[in-house]
Symmetry: C2
Subunit: 185 residues, 2 copies
Amino acid sequence: MAAAKVGDEELLARIGDVFRRYGYEGASLRELSAASGLEKASLYHRFPGGKEEMALAIVARAGEWLEANVFAPLRDLPAAQRVPRAAGKLREFYRNGELWCTLDVLTLSGSSDAIRAAVRGSYQAWVGAFARAAREAGLPAPEARARAQQAIIEIEGSLVISRVTGDPKIFLRVLQSLPARLTRV
Amino acid sequence: MAAAKVGDEELLARIGDVFRRYGYEGASLRELSAASGLEKASLYHRFPGGKEEMALAIVARAGEWLEANVFAPLRDLPAAQRVPRAAGKLREFYRNGELWCTLDVLTLSGSSDAIRAAVRGSYQAWVGAFARAAREAGLPAPEARARAQQAIIEIEGSLVISRVTGDPKIFLRVLQSLPARLTRV
DNA sequence: GTCTATAGCTTGATAGAC
DNA sequence: GTCTATCAAGCTATAGAC
């Protein structure tokens, strides 16, 4: 088979940026093509299911990235480093608050049930990982789960407000509070 | 002039629902027409500036509604009733968490600078009203402002997570915590 | 003020050459 | 695997009758 002009990893990253800036309806194939450097027909060769398959792929990719870079360290690192490392990687994932979340931008009416189901799965994995970290920091299970959910609420909300105000510091401040939110007994 | 088939108030409410469910790009004139009961040409008679003018109008209308129903009571009611009343009206505004926020859905790339500027204005009025209430509850000004911003972050975030999970209780729980968040010294 | 009809463009998606 | 060319359908917006 002929060499791909752009690797799968790079391709997913580029179209992911478009979806996360424009939302599902707003992410046109023209934008996706421009951002990826591939013509529309080439995108269809990589994603025969079209735009929906692209969106599902970037949700899956985001899930893998978070698992490797955020959730795994949250399990495996020495306790004191866990949440600070997770916060640092989330900062990277959201580009200092200048790139938004699939939970937010892919769940408006207009995206398919399959996409919303995939996004819901991402959220559940995220809550699970945060709750586990909170439990292992000594919090009782129900409290740990509540803390996890609350932390994600604040991350999502701060991304929205950073977008509205154009001020990423609002998001960054929430990230800084993450260790206290998740582990302080 | 001939009688309008649907009043301005009702019209703005109906197209507002569409924008808040679908976002700016997703809110097609077909949906707006179906929801309003007016043909597309009639919508253009009411809003010569087209879809952008509709979005600006619903942002302005939301601002007026919040001023009358949330911000004014927050100034004028007896202190003990202020935040509970505001929370109740916010619950109404967001239809128990089943309708989302213009701050969120109208600010993705793809909506115009004018829309984003209008939405930013809404946010500033909201922070101002919450901060004033917090000050009048006895909190120092910087702390009051931080509390106001934090409360809005949690409302926006919980709307996102309620949408993702399909569970409005997440939003309702945040609203219940509003009095403590905004006024507890 | 609302309607039907339509213009002109953009969209998501496909066919087929290289 | 990528491309140019093309399609039908959807989009926003307008013209003009009633």
